[in-house]
Amino acid sequence: MADSQYVLEARGVIKIFGSHMALDAVDFGLRAGEVHALLGENGAGKSTLIKILTGAYQPDGGQVLVDGQAVTLDNPLHAQTHGIGTVYQEVNLLPNRSVAENLYLGHQPTRFGLVDHRRMERDARVLLTRYGLDLDPGSELGTHSVAVQQIVAIARAVQLSGKVLILDEPTASLDRNEVERLFEVIGDLKRAGLAIIFITHFLDQVFAIADRVTVLRNGRLVDTQQLDALNRTDVVRLMLGKDIAFSGATDLEPENPTTEVLLEFTGYGRRRSVHPFNLTIHKGEVIGVAGLLGSGRTEMARIMFGADPADQGTMRVNGKAATLRSTTDAIALGFGFCPEDRKAEGILGDLSVRENIVIALQGKLGWFKALNRDEQLEIAGKFGESMDIRAASLDMPVKLLSGGNQQKVILSRWLATDPAFLILDEPTRGIDVGAHAEIVRTINRLRDDGMAMVVISSELDEVVAYSSRIVVMRDREMVAELRGKNINPGVIVQAIANNPDEATL
């Protein structure tokens, strides 16, 4: 193998945690001027490999080479001096300081020993223009969108290291426009000769931007390939070692008008949150909700669940008028809600998998009808099995599980209450392909069992695959209701983009 071919290389890297082999003799090579996608299910070893390449972990075997020279990277700061910079999914910057300060923190230009703010802001403005950002460098970072913060983080990382840029799921909390914008920045950096490692769960994005792809599975290298030789199915097969059903738009669920109406929202809305909307939901129907981030999708879900009570309009459940003053009212009516932000609003991190699964059912039963430990274990075990939750024990804290398994736990929490109506907000965001398929399968199964669901998702292919009808949100308003032949990504994109001020996709 020619040494000089790679800017950054891992040769036969081994990492062992306890009795678990996290990385088993993995080879990885990164060339200058390429975007190299690193793929694998959660637990495949992506993060471990990245942490070794950035010096956060030390390998138990094998070597890391920079420009063909074997190096020992003591810590991420040391890696930075070798030209390796990293940007993480959660922006690790200071939201309450200015953009310029964030760019230059730790190496501010000084004048007479004091920070030269004027020069710093001038430099920052020049730097930001290069990244296509026209904003006031003196403004607080936290006032900008996550996408802008992400680009600032990239600018900082490139400024500090300048040879290798590692992007760890940078697009997880961005909407489509923002992703496009980020990709332009990445494209420019690539043309400037930077070597870029790109980690994501979205295959579309891999095909949109990456040149080569390396797939890991269970700590082993599966393959490194040129992307133009592969198609989507090839990549999924490499990742899973098997074909999974990625049902496309072909098997549309026909609308079933014979089932009874479960819910009727009329002029339902909340001031300063979501404009009044009308929606009728039948039993055994999945209503897909499409729209950009910030379009009012999540707000609509919270109003339907009573988390933010509606202040106008009426709701009828099984033909009877009902009001939701709180989530408890909604749960009593048989509603369930999986929130978008699993960590902040979904899981009870320090509590066990078992407690996380029974909590909503116990909440419904009240203070004094406590489920005892055996009953809790039985319920948790039942869902652990049917949802294929991968946990070493039902008594381990749920925060130690992977994102996909946490999502299955939250879904189980609601299924345990035997709901009639489930609201899922981005149920597949940021989870691995296997868990993704499992959750899509579950949605299909529940619909066939007669449950009514509202599913919010940014992944149009996915929404199209399981929805009976699709509503489109834009500017906090329900702008379209699509059914039948209109349920396809093209029509949805048009509906989302209808407003010229909005996205052009």
Binding site: G43, I331, E345, L351, G384
Partner: protein, 334 residues
């Protein structure tokens, strides 16, 4: 039900209590000598149980508050208020049971006030309970009109100095309260809900838990416990001292809860272990007194012991004893 296993008893709190008691015994060999006199037990160890009771009672209520990621700074002041209420009422000629019920009601009301500030107005617990911590002593002084109200009602005095089966009444009250409150939270779902709120209030609310009502409950319980402790202390000295009753005891109570393994970050909690924490604190106090060290040593030695106990609980101390993690990727159901 879970079986009580021996290795469950080998936790840092009980080990620390045994350690402190053993040191007391070494310094003062007659520490465990217990004599029977006038139908009750006497001795240094019995004294630990008796003197530790007020903090233990406070800690029982404080545990619930801390488990919800809160803190109740007002319990010392509530003790003073409730002691003052009980004392002035018996002095004014009301029968002791009425005076006790009135004092408990006042404590409950104080707790509900704290709960209202925290749960409904969303004020940070440390600030919300600071209000009563400061105001409470003033209110207590208004009730006692600035003097120490002494009383001779035998029924009320019994609560502080009496004995049941030879054991001091205060300790008996603490144990009964511990058992009752533990049963209340563990045999119902209240304990699980308190933990859920402490770990993640937003998620708990979305899962349908009445977080406001539960917060009101834990602060009310803390106020009630403070009232009981206040009555016990007033009955013990046969008088209500608005200035000194329960002074700084809120800090001892918080410490007892923390020694008992409940994190100030909320979540998992144990009421019996908080009571053990209170006993550890009192065993140190008594040990230093009876072994003839000057009382000034007390604070320094206490600080050293506390650091030691907290170190024992820190995740770093646990590392050498930690069992290997179970193999990952195993399906739970298999």
């Amino acid at each position: 039900m879970r079986r009580l296993r021996l290795d469950r008893l080998a936790n840092p709190q009980l080990l620390a209590l045994v350690g402190v008691l053993a040191i007391n015994w070494l310094l003062f060999p007659s520490f465990f000598n217990v004599t029977w006199q006038d139908g009750r037990f006497f001795g240094s160890f019995i004294d630990v149980l008796n003197r530790g009771a007020p903090v233990a009672i406070l800690a029982i209520g404080m545990t619930g508050v801390i488990a919800t990621k809160g803190v109740d700074l007002s319990v010392g002041a509530i003790m003073a208020v409730c002691g003052a209420v009980a004392a002035t009422m018996v002095v004014a000629g009301y029968p002791a049971p009425i005076a006790v019920i009135a004092a408990l009601a006042v404590g409950l009301a104080c707790g509900l006030w704290n709960g209202f500030l925290v749960a409904v107005l969303d004020i940070q617990p440390i600030v919300a309970t600071l209000v009563l911590m400061v105001a409470g002593r003033g209110i207590a002084q208004l009730i006692t009109e600035g003097s120490i109200v002494t009383f001779n009602d035998p029924a009320l005095i019994f609560i502080g100095t009496g004995s049941v089966l030879g054991l001091p009444m205060a300790a008996v009250i603490a144990v009964v309260l511990m058992v009752l409150v533990t049963l209340l939270v563990r045999r119902t779902a209240i304990g699980l809900f308190i933990q859920a709120i402490g770990v993640n209030r937003a998620a708990a609310s979305l899962a349908g838990i009445h977080s406001r009502m539960l917060l009101m409950l834990v602060y009310a319980l803390s106020g009630l416990c403070a009232a009981i402790a206040g009555i016990v202390v007033a009955a013990d000295i046969r008088g209500a001292d608005a200035n000194n009753s329960g002074l700084w005891l809120e800090l001892d109570a918080i410490l007892a809860v923390v020694i008992g393994g409940t994190s100030l970050l909320g979540g998992r909690f144990s009421i019996p272990m908080a009571v053990v924490g209170a006993l550890i604190i009192q065993a140190m106090n008594t040990g230093i007194l009876v072994s003839g060290f000057p009382p000034e040593f007390n604070l320094v030695v206490k600080a050293g012991m506390i650091i030691l106990i907290l170190l024992l609980q820190s995740p770093f101390a646990a590392l050498p004893f930690k069992r290997r993690p179970a193999a990952p990727n195993k399906t739970a159901s298999s």
